[in-house]
Structures are given as structure tokens and as C-alpha cells.
Symmetry: C3
Subunit: 364 residues, 3 copies
Amino acid sequence: MSDAGAGSSGAAVRPRLTAGEIALAVGGRVLGDPAAEVHAVAPLDRAGPEHVSFFASARYQALFEATQAGVVLVAPELAESAGAATAVRILVAKPHEAMLALLPRLYAQPAREPGVHPSAVIGRGATIAEDATVGPNAVVGDGATIGARAWVDASAVIGAGAVVGDDSHVYPHATLYPGTRLGRRVAIHSGARIGSDGFGYVYQAGAHQKIPHVGICIVEDDVEIGANTTIDRGSIDDTVIGAGTKIDNLVHVAHNVRIGRLCLLMAQVGIAGSTRVEDGCILAGQAGVAGHVTIGRGARLAARAGLFGDMPAGETWSGYPARPHKEALRTQAAMWRLAALVRPLERLLARDAAKSKEDAGGTE
Amino acid sequence: MSDAGAGSSGAAVRPRLTAGEIALAVGGRVLGDPAAEVHAVAPLDRAGPEHVSFFASARYQALFEATQAGVVLVAPELAESAGAATAVRILVAKPHEAMLALLPRLYAQPAREPGVHPSAVIGRGATIAEDATVGPNAVVGDGATIGARAWVDASAVIGAGAVVGDDSHVYPHATLYPGTRLGRRVAIHSGARIGSDGFGYVYQAGAHQKIPHVGICIVEDDVEIGANTTIDRGSIDDTVIGAGTKIDNLVHVAHNVRIGRLCLLMAQVGIAGSTRVEDGCILAGQAGVAGHVTIGRGARLAARAGLFGDMPAGETWSGYPARPHKEALRTQAAMWRLAALVRPLERLLARDAAKSKEDAGGTE
Amino acid sequence: MSDAGAGSSGAAVRPRLTAGEIALAVGGRVLGDPAAEVHAVAPLDRAGPEHVSFFASARYQALFEATQAGVVLVAPELAESAGAATAVRILVAKPHEAMLALLPRLYAQPAREPGVHPSAVIGRGATIAEDATVGPNAVVGDGATIGARAWVDASAVIGAGAVVGDDSHVYPHATLYPGTRLGRRVAIHSGARIGSDGFGYVYQAGAHQKIPHVGICIVEDDVEIGANTTIDRGSIDDTVIGAGTKIDNLVHVAHNVRIGRLCLLMAQVGIAGSTRVEDGCILAGQAGVAGHVTIGRGARLAARAGLFGDMPAGETWSGYPARPHKEALRTQAAMWRLAALVRPLERLLARDAAKSKEDAGGTE
């Protein structure tokens, strides 16, 4: 057993801030004791005297009245609200944004200590920047490259010849298959598998013969990929995730898919092989996309939608199979009204048929 | 290379039981040789002379006739059934429950050997109970706490400052992100990620800027979380999994979600951010729940349902979008009858429109 | 820190081939310089002078015209197509298949070096074939068996008593729970969990009591299982994956399920407990199958279908709940036409009801 030293996701140390310091930081005005101290943030209903919270909408009046928070950021239009008797109020235009701005002051980033942990295993010919971190029990394969200030966290596995760009973070238990390339400032969360073999077989001689996958997976700059997501390598082409795109947990991206820049893919989305997702698209949770289709620039696919064909740029589609959202809503509404109509309609049709027959006399 | 000793999930050693001992254990009556010995359980169609099986419903008569089981627990009303010629029968009121009661007698629990394996890496200031187990190649971060009789299994990673409560078991390759808190008797299965960053961004200056996630994930007592499930930490609030709740494999729980006590979440369920699931709810496989909604106490959501709004306590809902189950069934039934009606209805409407026009004469 | 030597997924070394050698290998005819050299494959739009590509359909004429590929395999009927001015053409009957045949010539398989890496941890009584590979930081539990030429890759965990058959490959971070049995030539991709506990509880005394899972998971010969897929062990019975079946990423297979031979299960499919999938079935992406149902031999379930009952052999079903595909398509088509009909139909019914009342006079 040895020290977890390098890259052990060092525990956050929480500084303290006074109400006066907070007001200064967010450009707000203190109502109450400017010396009141807090060391963390919390929502109104879970805050105690050591927390700063925020009150941005009259909708949360009841929570505001009952809160135990030490300091509350309050929207100016709510300044006179009753409640939060023990709290120091700070009036500020956008309390939620002000709160986010405070976070770096109250929460230190986990400390990354440069160096290779003695328990890490480094392959032949691997290149590791001097100020990079390779954590305990991590494995870096032959010929891999770890960039400046990059962090290969505890028990991560970097395949042979893979590249981790500058300032990227590969979290614990993430895997890069051989040859995978990460750009700069990329985050690969725990358990994500990047560059795994695609699902491609040819049925020959009574068996599913595997198609070799010689393409790789390229992840461009500023991409974040969620926990336990899988992104397959290309077969002959490569799989590409465009710069600035963010992918949530448990998403599946199949071989040869190309995702553009600045897209958002939410949890449990699945994209089949060779599909193109152009820049700025949003795919909501559990949506599924067939193979070999194109989703045009800036398009949005609703949660749980199932897309089986191309989708034009800029549109919002939903449903199964997915259709333009307004059309899908109309169909849905009609469906819910249908149950009450089916029997009367069947009776009406029966009567109509009988009448037609009668009108036609015995001529049939 | 070293010995896998501590926490290597020691192979089960199977004791033997005679028919007489089994009858005594389950309160049954032996028909046949009480000295017949078995050492494992199996279903009728896969059992051999070394197995005890059970026969609880006439529906399985054919399997009973063909079984090779050495001993069969038989419901009293089936005592006279033909078949199982070579088996010793034990008559007992509820054969399936009796079978479950036998399991601890026939299958030893994997042995957990207390101690920290020499290949494990322990962070600065971590506290590990003397009778806890830390397995081979596990990593325990700075300032983490491992409780009495807790088991951090092979290659698990416990983040800095995280807490593993007494008698909890973190299976191989599971990850606790820094600060995660597990209660007592919690099981985290292989590859589950607890406390990963939530999916929260603000679009500013041409990029998706990450919202810092300073909340944690709290898992209360007696929770079990399945393999490869992901549970995000809170952003400002915490994510909470209530006591006694059980979560299956590949489930996604987003940031700030609060799940009550004694819920069941089945495989591949997804829950978006800030949703509340009250006590005793059941969410069946592949169901999806939108963000910021509330599922009332004891409610049930059917398999593959997609819930986009609040759901009242005690109700059962299904479909997409989810509706009360009876309503959803009526709509479904109407849908299946619709295909046969559409053309006749279109013809009827056309005739009706023509007739209206005719009735109106040339006045249009 | 030590050398990653054994099993470090050695970087692929790429040999070079001339156009003449390629033509000989695929039985084609060179148009141009037979000495032109390439060392990799790429699709037309991403190929450079160092790549061989293929042109098999007039649909890709524009890409062919613009390609920078050094060598292009061209279907004979496209031999005279304009474009690819700088490329050597090789005429060959089925360019795509010829391309696949070239892959083993251009891409060396990752080298596997036999032996147990010094950082691996081996349990008591484990048996490891002399020519097997156990990679860095892998853990092999007590009494486990690793077959000839098998590869337990970096950081994989093989549970106590588990068996890895000859020529099988357990990729980085995959987990076999204790007792799991893999046949020969099996591939378990990164992060897959085989033999995890099933989701089975009995509600007693105010808590969900866990049903012990004493069955195991048996994976037969030539099975491939994708990244982050989870396959639970049996409760009393075993879970079985039949020979030659291929399973994609993020699939869930519950306890006691039996899947036949030569099936294909695509990404994010979920199968609930005790279901039987017979030989040669195909379950497309995100499909869900209820527990205790049977899918007959050679049946196909469409992407995102939700199956709640048995499905006959040889049929193709789709939709939610799943129905025979033609029926589901008819219903879908009717649904899309419904929105336009609902209002006129409601008016028609209203008029009809009014008329009936009128006809009935005051007699009601």
C-alpha cells in the first residue's frame, strides 16, 4: 500500500466569505450585518446559518419564509418579502447568476499534483508531459501521449498510441481504446469508453464474421463526455465528436458517426452508425437516431423521440417515429380524443353501410 | 504479482444437505430416502441428482415428469403427481419460499478477509476501520472514510473525502466521486458511478460554459445500486437516494434528483434533473421522467413510459406521454382499431361534405 | 511505475502495399502506376495520397471526382467515370468486400505478449495458461481459470472461480463476477459486467429483502459483448448467452434470461428477467422486452419496439406495444391521418346525434 498522492482528487477546502465580501463580489447591497460569515451554498430549504442561498422568484416565497440560511441573495423586486428573519439579505439583480459567480470563491478546485504515481504502469515509448498527472493504478499504453497539465486519473486506462491533449482530464476508470485522440480541455468522465469496436458483422459460413475496425475516434477540443457513455471507433472512416460538444451519461454513439461542434446530447441518447449530426444540435434524453441519417444544423430532437430519417436544419421534432413537433402534438391530441370517438364512429359507419345497401336495393 | 488475498470475492464453498435435513429446515415431510444428498439448487429442467428443485404449480407438470433432480420440494396439492421417478419428494406448503430459505444453507457467502491489500493505494488522511476490507488495486482518496466491516472491492475507486458506511460493499470498478456519502449496508455494483458531475451548461461567449457542481450525492442506508448505473452529484443542492431504495443496472439519475425511501427503479430508467420521486414508487424498465416534476408517494410508472409532468400519489401511469394506465389502454385499443376505420371515415366525410355543398345549392 | 509490457494493446504497425500488390490480393486489374504505394484505407472524402479507397456506386460520383486517394478500388461498371485524376484505379467486382479483405494486410493486430504483468494480482489457486496474457493492474480472483492464449487486459477483474476460455479477450475494466464462465474466442469489451446480481427482492417486514442469486452467467463460444453492457447472473437458474451471439454496447440482460445462438442484440436493448430469445433473432437498438416471454427462432424486433408478450418465430414486429410490422405501419399511417379528421368527425357525430334525437321526436 502506498500514498495516493498524485491525482487523488484532493478534498475541497472551503474558504469563508462574509456578507460584505459577497456583496462586493457580486455587486450587491447588504441589508443586515456585513460581518455574517458563510462557507458554502445551499438551496433555501436545505440551507443553515453557514450557507448562502438565493431567492429569485416569488414562487419560492414559502421556502424563503422558512429558510435557515445565513445569507440570502435576493432579487431587488423581492427585497420587501417577509421571511428569512435570521438571514442577512444581499440585493442583487440576478441572484442565480450571482450565486454561480460565487462558487469559485467558496469551492476550491480539486488539487492536481503533477507527476506519475508510483503505482501507475507506463508503456514503452509513451510520452508524458512533465506537468501532467498520472494517478494511482492508471495504465498508459505503449506509445501513448499525455499532454501538458493533462490528468489521467486513478485507474484510468489509456490505450496504445492514444493521445490525451493539453489540460484534458480522463476520470477514474475511463478507457481510451488504442489510437483514440483527445483534443485540449477535454473531460472524459468515469467509465466512459472511447474508441471501442463498432458493431459490424457479415454473416458468412454460418457465423457472424466481425468486420475489422481500423478507424479511430477523434474527440475535438473542449468536449465533455459523461459517465459510462460509449463511443465506438470507426470501421474504415473515423468517428468524430466536434469541438465544444457536451455529451451526458450512458449515451451510445456508434461507428463512423460524426457529431458537429457545440451540440448537446443528453442522457441515454443512442445514435446508430454513420449518422451525421451537424453543428449546434440538441438531442434530448433517451432519444434514438437511426443509422445513415443527417440531422441538420441547429435542429432539436425531443426527449424519447425516435428519428428514422433526415431532419432539416433548425427544426424541432418529437415523437415516434419523429415528426415536426407541432404535427406530432396535433397527432397526440387527436389520439387522446380518439378513444371516445371510436365506438360512435363504428356505429355510424355500420348504419351508413346498411343504408347504402338498402338504397342499392336488391341489386347486389 | 502478488496474492489476491484481501477481498478477492472468495469462491463459494457448497455444503451438502440430506433430504432429511432439508425437510427439517423447511418444515416439510419426506417421501422417499431421507439420506439422499444434494449440494445445490436448480430449476426442474436443469437439475441433476445433486440438485434440489421445486414443483409448485401444475403448469410445470411436464418439467416435473422429466426432471433428473435428486430432491424436489412439492406443494401438498401436487403430492400425487406422476413423474420425478428418481427424486425424493418433500411436501411443503410454499415450495418456492422454502427453496429461498435453503439458499443460505447451501451457498456460503463470499468470504471477506479484513485488511488492506498491499496493492491498494490509500490517500493522505484516509480513515479505514480495522475490520474493513480494501481489495487489490483499489484506490482510496485523501480524507476518505471506510466504515466497520465495509468492503472496497478490487479496483474500486473511492474519491477524496467520500464516506463508505458500515457494512457497505463497493464492488469492483465502482467509482465514488469526491465527497459522496454512502450510508450503512449499501451495495454499489460494479461500474456504478456515484456523484459524477451533472449535465449543466450556460451558453455564453459562443460556448457551453460548465456550471460548477458543488453539491454531492447522498446514498442512505440499505440502498442497492446496479451495475453501470450513473447518479450525478447536485449542482447547488445535493442528489439524494432514500433509505431502502433499490436501483437496477444502467439507470441514469441526474443532478439534484431526490428519490424517497423504498423505491424500485428498474433497468435503463432515466430521471432528468431536480425531479422528486416520493417514497415507495416503482419505475419500470426503460421509463423516462422529465426534469423538475414530482412523482407522488407509491405511484407506479409502467415500462417504457415517458413522463413529462407531475404524477399523483398512488396512481399507475403508462404510455408516451404517460397518462393514467386505464386511459392509456383505452387509447391504445382505439389506435389499433383505427387503421380499419380511416378510409371508410374519409369516404363518409367526403360524401357528407359533398352533400352539404349540394344542400347549400349555389349560394356559396 | 513499471513497464506496461504484457498486454498493453501494442500500437498497430502499418505495412505498405503497392497498387500491383493490391490488385493481386483482390484479383483486380490496375489502371495506372502499379508501383503507387499506400499504407492505410479511408473513405473517398477523407483519403489522401497514402490511402486506398473504394468507389462502388454512381451515388458517390461527386466524392470520387474530388478524392485525393492514392489508389481507388473501382467497380467495373464505373471504370470510365470522370474524376480521381491523381488516383491509380483498380477494377474489381465488389470493391467494398475487396477493401475488407485488404484490412488484415494493412493493419497488424495488436500484439499480445504472453505472461502475467508484475502489477497484476493473482488469487490463491488460480490457473493461468502459460501462453495467456494478464495485463497491468488486472486482478484474477481465487480459483479462477484463464485459458490458452486468453487475454485478461489492463485493469480487468476476473472474479473468484470464474473461467475465461481459450483465445478469449477480456478488455480493460471489464468485470466477471465470481463463477462466471466464458467459452472460447469470447470478447468482453471494456466496462461490461458479466454475472452481476439480478434485481430480485421480496417485500417483507417493511423492506425490500434481497433474493440471493446463486445461479451464474454462462457465455458460450464466439460471443462478443459490447462496452458497458450488463448481464446479470441467474437467481436459481443460470443466465445463458448462446454461441456466436453478438451483443452491442449498453445492453441490459436480466437474470435467468436465455439467449440462443447467433442472435444480434443492438445498442441499449433491455431484456427483463427469465425471457427466452431463440436462435438467430435480431433485436434492434433501444428495443425493450418484458420478462417471462419467448421470442421465436429467427424473429426480428425493430428499433425502439416494446415487446410485452410472446413473438412468433420468423416474424418482424415493431412499435409500442410491439405488433406485427405491417399492422404497426398501418396503425402509424392511420394515426398521422387522424389529426385532420378528428374535428370533422366530431362535428359529424354531433350532427348525427342531433338528427337522431330529432327523428326520435319528443318520445325520449
